[in-house]
């Protein structure tokens, strides 16, 4: 019984529910659940980068878009089958994510945030204006998937595919953060100089964190294109980025289970307000603000307090007790930070 209310039990139950859902759900519920699975991937990928590796990047929506565009364009332009285009989209997003590690080696904190924000807007601009490649602002349709030998409709097929991939990527992240790599990420996040002095290769781990996060977002993008059979630039704008950030913060920065919870809850919120764009913006702005102000460690910190079986093995970054020196350090010109 105790196991059931632990974080492991919670994950198992949640994914089991997601697994049996297609037997009774109507097509709308199936679509929303599929969306929730995609956002779980996105939130975990972003959390690995900002929560564990401590790199405040703002380009997750752009990576999501790059994955979707890569998978869709490979199919439409080159006739590549979806089964190849999906992983290829992940790899392409991962490679472009790797490029972003380059400014991250020189910038940190708000400077990195704004450089990646500019990069994300640049990507969005490319989606809209590089018409020869991307079909421009109106987007384009992608051929419907067929799961021919299997006895499932395309909707169920993409759902189960997303379900399997989400479980796989969640387990991978779950184990990764408990491994040598995850500990190196956390060490790097807490203090780069101390981490480097312990023999952690900052270059390698930063590049790996960006590549991994890009891969998660890229795979989610490929699944998104398979789910909607349509790709358009406005799915990958700044609001999308705010959605991802809110999921990570609502769930809990530096917690894989937290990202799962945050993604599931916020997809539901998003769908409830689907008709009203202005209400979506107000709701997500308010949710993000309320959590930053009053519960900066997210829902996980609350669950950890009330559920005795809940174990979070990785220390959460405590925004409240961040040393003042570090804050002052941010103010200095980038070249002159104190060690």
């Amino acid at each position: 019984m105790k196991w059931l209310i632990s974080n492991k039990g919670f994950l198992c139950i949640l994914f089991a529910v997601f697994g049996v859902l297609p037997t009774f759900a109507n097509s709308y519920l199936l679509y929303v659940s599929n969306l929730a699975l995609l956002f779980i991937i996105l939130a975990i990928g972003l959390n690995l980068l900002i929560g564990y590796a401590g790199q405040l990047a703002f380009a997750n929506a752009a990576m999501f878009g790059i994955g979707a565009y890569a998978a869709a364009l490979l199919q439409v332009r080159l006739g590549v089958p979806y089964w190849v285009a999906l992983p290829a989209g992940g790899v392409i997003a991962s490679l472009i994510g790797t490029l972003m590690a380059w400014p991250a080696l020189r910038l940190s904190g708000i400077y990195l945030a704004l450089a990646t924000l500019a990069f994300a807007q640049f990507t969005l601009w490319l989606f809209m204006h590089w018409e020869d490649l991307t079909f421009g602002a109106t987007g384009f349709a992608v051929p419907r998937l067929s799961f021919a030998p299997l006895p499932v409709t395309p909707e169920q097929g993409i759902y189960f595919l997303s379900w399997i991939i989400t479980i796989g990527l969640t387990l991978f992240a779950w184990n990764l953060v408990r491994s040598r790599v995850g500990r190196a990420f956390v060490a790097m996040r807490d203090n780069e100089v101390a981490a480097a002095s312990l023999g952690i290769n900052l270059l390698r781990y930063k590049v790996f964190a960006f590549a991994l996060s890009g891969f998660y977002a890229g795979i989610a993008g490929g699944l998104h294109c398979g789910l909607l059979n349509y790709v358009a630039p406005e799915s990958f704008d700044l609001f999308q980025m705010v959605i991802h950030k809110s999921m990570v913060i609502v769930g809990g920065v530096g917690s894989v289970v937290g990202s799962v919870i945050g993604a599931a809850l916020l997809v539901a919120t998003l769908e409830l307000l689907r008709e009203f764009k202005s209400l979506q913006e107000i709701a997500f702005g308010a949710i993000l603000l309320i959590f930053i102000l009053f519960m900066p460690l997210g829902l996980v910190s609350f669950l950890k307090r009330v559920l005795p079986g809940w174990e979070e093995e990785v220390h959460l970054p405590d925004a409240r007790t961040a040393p003042a020196v570090e804050a002052a350090d941010e103010l200095r010109p980038v070249g002159e930070r104190s060690p």
């Binding site: 950030k245 764009k277 202005s278 702005g285 930053i292 102000l293 409240r320 941010e330």
Partner: protein, 291 residues
């Protein structure tokens, strides 16, 4: 062609510079980047629209009212969203400012229209274009340019000659020393955020007649103003002005000679290149060290 591009680039650049000055004022005195600056700009424009078109006040008073309203919105956002986070770290403030920007955008969309509603704003003067030795100038651009230069001088004078301006300089220079001599740092942070919002609002009321108003205008403008501020080194008002004029000129020239769809790219490219290669900006020769 070139003459027109230069004048329109400078007119636009002066407005970017005004928003950039807002970013610099906030950054210098608090160390935070306010991502909602663009939305404060957007609100300033809509306030002017509300006072002038919807409520029918005369032109100049409604512009002044819009700037005053922006000032108070800036103070309010600080009071409710940023003040509790100033000690928690600047990254939290940055995230909170994104949240605020979406809140403001959603509210504005609710009040003044949905996606794709572009609201025209009546021009200040309806005179036809002037030809100065081959430089074709729209009077509206001239007014915007002149007014923004005047406002910049006003801001510089404020920092030089008033007590609160000097206090703001003091907390930018050394927060601990300023606290020790009894300067109320919290109140000044609020003032900095309010002044930043007011300069964004002023830019908006000057720019509104040149362009259309829509709820999504803010972020694009923030990116351009941030490019200007970061080009100027984020620490100096003079740098922000020069950065703004450069960004405006580059944009106009790119739009004229490369193609209008490339206009918006120049700002992104400037930010990425400057942050990575010359993070202190073109005016950052002597590094300002903060304690």
């Amino acid at each position: 062609m070139l003459g027109y591009l230069i004048t329109s680039g400078l007119a636009l650049g002066a407005l970017y510079a005004l928003v950039a000055i807002g970013i610099v004022i906030v950054f210098k005195s608090t160390g935070a980047i306010n991502l909602a600056q663009g939305e404060l700009f957007m609100l300033g424009g809509f306030f002017a629209f509300m006072f002038h078109v919807q409520m029918g006040y005369p032109y100049i008073p409604s512009l002044l009212l819009a700037v005053v309203a922006s000032f108070f919105i800036g103070a309010l956002t600080y009071q409710f969203a940023f003040r509790p986070l100033m000690k928690a770290g600047l990254v939290s403030v940055l995230l909170a400012s994104i949240a605020v920007s979406f809140l403001l955008k959603g509210v504005a969309r609710n009040i003044w229209g949905g996606v794709g509603d572009y609201i025209p704003f009546p021009p200040m003067i309806t005179a036809s274009a002037i030809n100065l030795n081959g430089f074709i100038v729209l009077p509206q651009q001239l007014v915007a340019f002149g007014a923004s230069i005047a406002l910049m001088l006003l801001i510089v004078a404020y920092f030089k000659f008033t007590r609160s301006g000097k206090w703001l300089q003091a907390i930018a220079d050394n927060v601990k020393a300023a606290t020790l001599v009894g300067i109320r740092v919290g109140a000044l942070h609020r003032l900095a955020f309010a002044l930043g919002a007011a300069s964004a609002g002023a830019a908006a009321v000057l720019m509104a007649p040149l362009t259309l108003l829509y709820p999504d205008i803010g972020f694009n403008l923030f990116i351009k103003a941030f490019a200007a501020a970061v080009l100027g080194g984020l620490h100096s008002i003079a740098g922000a002005v020069i950065g703004g004029l450069i960004v405006g000129l580059v944009e106009a020239l790119v739009a004229g000679y490369v193609g209008s769809k490339f206009q918006d790219v120049s700002a992104f490219v400037v930010i990425m290149l400057v942050l990575v290669f010359i993070p202190r900006g073109i005016m950052g020769g002597k590094a300002m060290r903060k304690v």
